[in-house]
Assembly symmetry: C2
Homo-oligomer: 155 residues x 2
DNA sequence: TTATTTGCAAAAACTTTGCATACGG
DNA sequence: CCGTATGCAAAGTTTTTGCAAATAA
């Protein structure tokens, strides 16, 4: 099975603590946005986050969603995920991991593989990098789902 | 030295042939856009391509640049490059290669490394992929330039 | 000649900003 | 209370589209 985010969703109380820990005021809007992010693994765009929360929280504006996501990225609570479409998508999982981009559905799936991470790190360590500090290494796997109705799994 | 696109720029006549070969009509606008792409290695956005060509070709509109880039991507003459900013950037180099994203300058550098490609391919072959066909494997290295005035090199 | 491509402008999609109000710490 | 965050609307970006005119094949 593909390991998406490994951890279980955390409670609203724990989100509150996490926000504070990262230097952010724990507002209702931020709790809601964070909760939506942790419950979906589809690396949503701002618009998609807005749609996810809107029926339960009609007063939260799209501008607030954008601002909230930006503040999360700045606080390093989430990251922007690489994408080929020209829009920002976000990743709740801040552990080093890889991504599988499904080109027939535009879905992005987390692929957690510490062994692969080690291999890459070791390989690049051998190379002489001049004038560069590496911050992150990630493999981007572009793939196609053969049967959209069946499950996807790795090993 | 980092290997950017390995090949030398090709002549306008050769671009013409290439366009035809890929099923695209060889219009002046397309020749100009392709030529601009092959001469820069900075993975430009549509806007940047427009700026690059505009002084010599003031009659080519930004809409045409967008349409041209789209038609190139569709014809598989170029690819969209992954980016964290929410806009499309393009890559003239269609050979399998990796990218180094310089987070302090927003530049994207090609990193051509067939050995790394082999290691990755072999590693993933060992994994049991169910219901997926892999189209592309690429490593995305996020790095910071230590001294912006000095050259960057790998091995 | 004919289907495709272009230029232009307008619309759509995506994102940021300014300012008065609300609210967490 | 104080300063940050929000809501809203408006402005700014980025990208797409529709249509008449131009042009490659």
């Amino acid at each position: 099975m593909i390991q998406n985010s490994i951890s279980q969703p955390i409670s609203l109380e724990e989100i509150k603590n996490k926000l504070t820990e990262y230097g952010l005021k724990a507002t209702h809007q931020r709790l809601v946005v964070y909760d939506a992010l942790q419950k979906t693994h589809l690396h949503p765009s701002a618009e998609e986050v807005y749609t996810l929360i809107h029926s339960d929280n009609p007063s939260i504006s799209i501008a607030t969603v954008y601002n909230t996501l930006d503040s999360f990225v700045e606080a390093k609570l989430i990251t922007r995920v690489l994408s080929e479409e020209g829009k920002s998508r976000y990743d709740f999982n801040t552990h080093q991991h890889h991504h599988i981009y499904l080109c027939n559905t535009d879905e992005i799936i987390d692929y957690h593989d510490p062994e692969l991470q080690k291999i890459l790190t070791a390989y690049l360590k051998k190379k002489k990098l001049t004038n560069l500090t590496i911050h992150e290494l990630q493999v981007h796997i572009k793939a196609e789902v053969i049967n959209p109705k069946q499950k996807i799994s790795i090993q």
